[in-house]
């Protein structure tokens, strides 16, 4: 290996700017070694240090009586009753999924699973929030195909059902798709495992797969320090091994049933470095690592390579010394590597030894406390101009058919048919069956409701309104199945934070999210920030994806969206006919314009609480929130799900039909009930706007203007886009 001097130039290539490198020199009091520089560069990277986002993330509410652990742990933890906790988080794998869609998405799923089971929870559900480029872009098809196969390939194999998600298409994601994966697990509430190391002298133990040269810090690829064959030796793409992950889940859970583990942390980004630094740092202890003991897949790996490798399916634990043999036996049973690779010390330093040399010796406190923190300039984006009156030139029927077949609204069955949604035997509401997935807790009546939501075009037009809307929609989707919304995980996908207009979007989106979370008692307990999502200077749409979790005390109370014959349809919530940023405006009128629909958080809560109470009272047969595409799309989706038609009444006087049926006003639900009079009366009594829309029956959808569409025709339109495009 040729060596280059460690200096400001190399630091720059490792992603540290001059000021940051000066800080490294001050902390070290000498020139760092290559390994030390590597450790600083990954710990102070945007991904690990949140240096651009931290000041804003503080604004999010994170507490509620039911929150057990908020942000700061591997995943968020909330009390769900029966002595149980739900553990959940969302994480992005955007860039790897562009380079190698299958493995990028697969390892994304693997990583988020580890964040959850490292806390002692058995994963019970996966979700995925996906944004792809324009279907017309030649790259998009390959990316969609690979990402979907990768998510299925990993999730199906580990045996965790994939129960929900969302998909959008927009040219802004050409060359930069977003792949956000969410995992939810269940643990006894008094058996949550944390990462803070404790007990000087205790063994530091490595388990899982061997370490190879996978995914070593992208920055180092640019360095010429490694000779000609560096590209061959250091694949930036990691290959996932879901089989090993499955063994790792079972082995960890088996060991967690004993008292052997003091602290545990998965090796995610920056692998051994971040796990050891964070465990020791959080526990306020020191740590020594002996890299000769690390299980290695390849020969002649350097300390630098081992410390920065992102090989998958690995965990780091601190064990009670008298239980080391118990742990070893468990991992041997599951045929996984197990190695004592270090000890905790009282030095307050991380000391890395390799082949008789000290390769790194860094004080931990300043590595954490003096990590860069930026108040980057923000430029508030201009408020969107109103889009004014837009006349309807096509009528309701043509617009409905076009909308139901468009990429953003067409059936996602082609995708979820590749995901095992039933493994585990607890899936009460599968993809497509309800606004949120519902998964029962094994052995209990109780169930979790799960959803992911964000409408990036709203966020692009007005990040604050869009941020609030994403939270409100997640809350609404949980409410629509009858669940009590508990908490949120998020995945904030934005462009380059060094550009003030991007930082402005980021700050605004957080402000909107915070406002909605507060108003809805819906705190953020975990999350992930993904910045620099841009290609050729063009940023993705601001996409603060929200993962919502709620609870149903009795899974049998959950309702889906499927219509049944003979029921009345009732709309709850106020309709102003807001067409700005609607899909009707984009797909039918050909404009992406106007402000997004405003979210009235007080009304949101009033309507939602009313809907949930009716569902839990058992008077609601089906419920669907009104979102993308508006009211008529929601009704059509209910009809298709139930294979039952409906006859619709005219909308209110004074509102253009297309505005009533396709406007995207927020805070609305369509309910199917046997007794609409009782529902209307109850709504009136509580000040909730309500309106009877029509009744269900037959096999046609009859619109208020008399037009009739048969469900099979509508279904073909709804279901054909993805298979035609991807299998053709």
């Amino acid at each position: 290996m040729t060596t280059r001097p460690v200096d400001a130039v190399l630091a720059r290539e490792f992603g540290l700017n001059a000021e940051e490198y000066a800080r490294v020199l001050a902390i070290m009091g000498r020139t760092p070694t290559l390994t030390e520089l590597g450790i600083f560069s990954v710990m102070w990277s945007e991904h690990c240090s949140y240096k651009s986002s931290r000041v804003w993330l503080r604004e999010l509410p994170t507490r509620a009586p039911w929150v057990i652990h908020g942000p700061g742990e591997n995943a968020g933890v909330v009390d769900i009753g029966d002595g149980l906790a739900a553990v959940f988080k969302m994480e992005s794998h955007n860039h790897p999924s562009f380079i190698e869609p299958y493995q990028g998405a697969a390892t994304g799923v693997g990583g988020i699973l580890r964040d959850v089971f490292t806390m002692g929870a058995r994963p019970i559900a996966n979700l995925n929030a996906l944004r792809f480029g324009d279907p017309g872009d030649p790259r998009t098809r390959r990316i969609v195909d690979g990402v979907v196969r990768g998510i299925g390939g990993y999730g199906n194999c580990v045996g965790v059902p994939t129960v929900g998600g969302e998909v959008n298409f927009h040219a802004a994601y050409n060359g930069n798709p977003l792949v956000n994966a969410m995992t939810v697990g269940i643990a006894p509430r008094d058996r949550i495992f944390l990462s803070a190391a404790a007990g000087v002298g205790n063994p530091v133990v490595y388990v899982g797969s061997k370490t190879g040269r996978d995914g070593i810090h992208g920055a180092t690829m640019a360095s010429a320090a490694f000779g000609e064959d560096s590209a061959e030796k250091r694949p930036t793409v990691q290959v996932g091994d879901p089989f090993t992950e499955k063994l790792l889940i079972e082995a960890c859970l088996e060991l967690m049933a004993t008292d052997a583990i003091i602290a545990i942390q998965d090796m995610g980004a920056a692998g051994l470095t971040s796990s050891s630094v964070e465990m020791a740092g959080k526990g306020g202890v020191g740590i020594t690592l002996d890299l000769d003991a690390v299980p290695q897949r390849e020969r002649d790996m350097t300390a630098y390579e081992m410390m920065l490798s992102e090989s998958q399916e690995r965990m780091l634990m601190v064990l009670r010394p008298d239980r080391e043999h118990v742990a070893r036996a468990v991992f041997e049973k599951w045929e996984l590597d197990f190695a004592v690779i270090g000890r905790l010390t009282n030095s307050g330093r991380i000391v890395v030894r390799h082949q008789g040399r000290i390769e790194a010796d860094i004080p931990l406190a300043p590595l954490a406390d003096q990590a860069p923190l930026y108040h980057r300039p923000t430029m508030p984006p201009p408020p969107p101009a109103p889009c004014g009156e837009v006349a309807d030139t096509v009528g309701l029927e043509a617009a409905l058919v076009r909308l139901l077949g468009c990429p953003d609204l067409c059936s996602r069955a082609w995708i979820w048919d590749q995901y095992d949604a039933t493994v585990g035997g607890q899936t009460v509401k599968r993809p497509g069956a309800a606004d949120a997935a519902v998964v029962r807790v094994e052995g209990h009546a109780r169930a979790l409701a799960l959803t992911t939501d964000c409408t990036p075009r709203y966020c692009a037009a007005d990040a604050r309104a869009g941020g609030a809307q994403a939270v409100a929609e997640a809350w609404r989707n949980l409410t629509a199945v009858g669940a009590r919304p508990l908490a949120v995980t998020d995945n904030l996908n934005f462009g380059n934070p060094e550009r003030p207009e991007i930082m402005g979007q980021f700050a605004d989106a957080i402000a909107g999210m915070a406002e909605a979370c507060r108003a809805l008692d819906f705190p953020v307990v975990s999350g992930n920030v993904s910045l620099y999502n841009e290609t050729e200077g063009r940023s993705v749409l601001p996409t603060p994806a929200i993962g919502g979790l709620g609870v149903l005390d009795d899974a049998a109370r959950a309702v889906g969206i499927a219509l049944r014959p003979g029921l009345d349809l009732v709309l709850l919530g106020a309709t102003a006919g807001h067409l700005g940023q609607s899909l009707w405006l984009r797909e039918v009128a050909g404009q992406e314009a106007g402000p997004p629909p405003p979210v009235d958080l007080v009304a949101e809560r009033r309507v939602g609480d009313f809907v949930r109470a009716r569902i839990l009272a058992g008077t609601v047969a089906a419920c669907h929130d009104v979102s993308d595409g508006g009211l008529l799309v929601a009704v059509a989706e209910m009809a298709l799900a139930g294979e039952v038609g409906a006859r619709l009444l005219p909308g209110p006087d004074g509102l253009a039909p297309h505005a009533f049926w396709f406007g995207e006003d927020q805070g609305r639900y369509v309910l199917a009930v046997a007794d609409s009079a009782a529902l209307l009366a109850a709504a009136a009594a509580e000040g909730v706007p309500a309106r009877r829309l029509g009744s269900a029956g037959g096999l046609d959808l009859t619109l208020p203007d008399g037009a009739t569409i048969s469900l099979p025709v509508l279904r073909r339109r709804h279901e054909q886009f993805l298979p035609d495009w991807l299998e053709g």
């Binding site: 196969r149 199906n156 194999c157 089989f243 499955k246 039933t422 035997g425």
Partner: protein
């Protein structure tokens, strides 16, 4: 009183539907099955051995190939030689064919994609321990979730299976045969009718709350037979 029925679920590294199977068996049998790790080879005193679904050994090389060589499979063979019952579902079916306990093989789905959705199965015979609680010709629903469920055997084997009435279930409308299986075969029996292998998952449809009880008669059939 009913005789005590003894069922066991055998698991291999990578199996992931053992819990689903245990729940279904417990529902029909009134008691939980024994869970057996593949390194244990003592299967004495058992009436029914179930090999559940999943991705044994990651489905690497060929689905079921590595599990089929596990020591426990010799014990499963001995169990059938004693006249014991064996049920293999999905990966379990693949393991039974790889072990040579059922004929044929499961190839990649014809469309080359993992298929996860409900399918419909027609019951071809009802005079077996696995199907007595169905009516002949019944069409029932079961979730399927597999990438390699395309049943293949040479024509002579297929003719023999049909001639001897060893086809237990076939894919039926409305969903039909989506994986390309020869002669729509979804499940087959051994000549003594004591070994059943099938691709779809009746164990995931035994609870009205989860969408229906279409799979329950299979487990009720077994419970009734074994209690007799």
């Amino acid at each position: 009183m009913l005789r005590e029925m003894r069922a066991a679920v055998v698991t291999f590294p990578g199996i992931n539907r053992e819990r689903d199977m245990a729940i279904a068996l417990t529902r029909s049998f009134g008691r939980a099955p024994r869970m057996i790790w593949h390194r244990d080879t003592d299967l004495s005193g058992l009436d029914l051995i179930v090999i559940p679904g999943g991705f044994s050994y990651g489905d690497y090389l060929r689905c079921g190939a590595m599990a089929a060589h596990s020591p426990v499979m010799d014990a499963v063979r001995a169990h059938t030689a004693r006249g014991g019952y064996v049920l293999g579902v999905c990966n379990g079916f693949q393991i039974l064919t790889e072990a040579g306990m059922l004929p044929g093989a499961l190839l990649r789905n014809a469309g080359l994609r993992f298929l996860s959705s409900d399918c419909h199965l027609r019951v071809e015979r009802t005079d077996t321990a696995f199907t007595s609680h169905y009516q002949r010709g019944d069409i029932f629903r079961a979730p399927m979730a597999h990438g390699d469920g395309n049943y293949f055997a040479d024509d002579a084997t297929l003719d023999r299976l049909e001639g001897e009435g060893l086809v237990a279930f076939r894919y039926a409308p409305p969903t039909g045969n989506r994986n390309g299986s020869a002669r729509d075969i979804a499940g087959i029996l051994s000549p003594n009718l004591r070994v059943l292998g099938l691709m779809p998952h009746p164990e995931d449809l035994v609870d009205p709350l989860l969408g229906g009880e279409d799979g329950k008669p299979l487990f009720d059939s077994l419970a009734a037979t074994l209690a007799a």
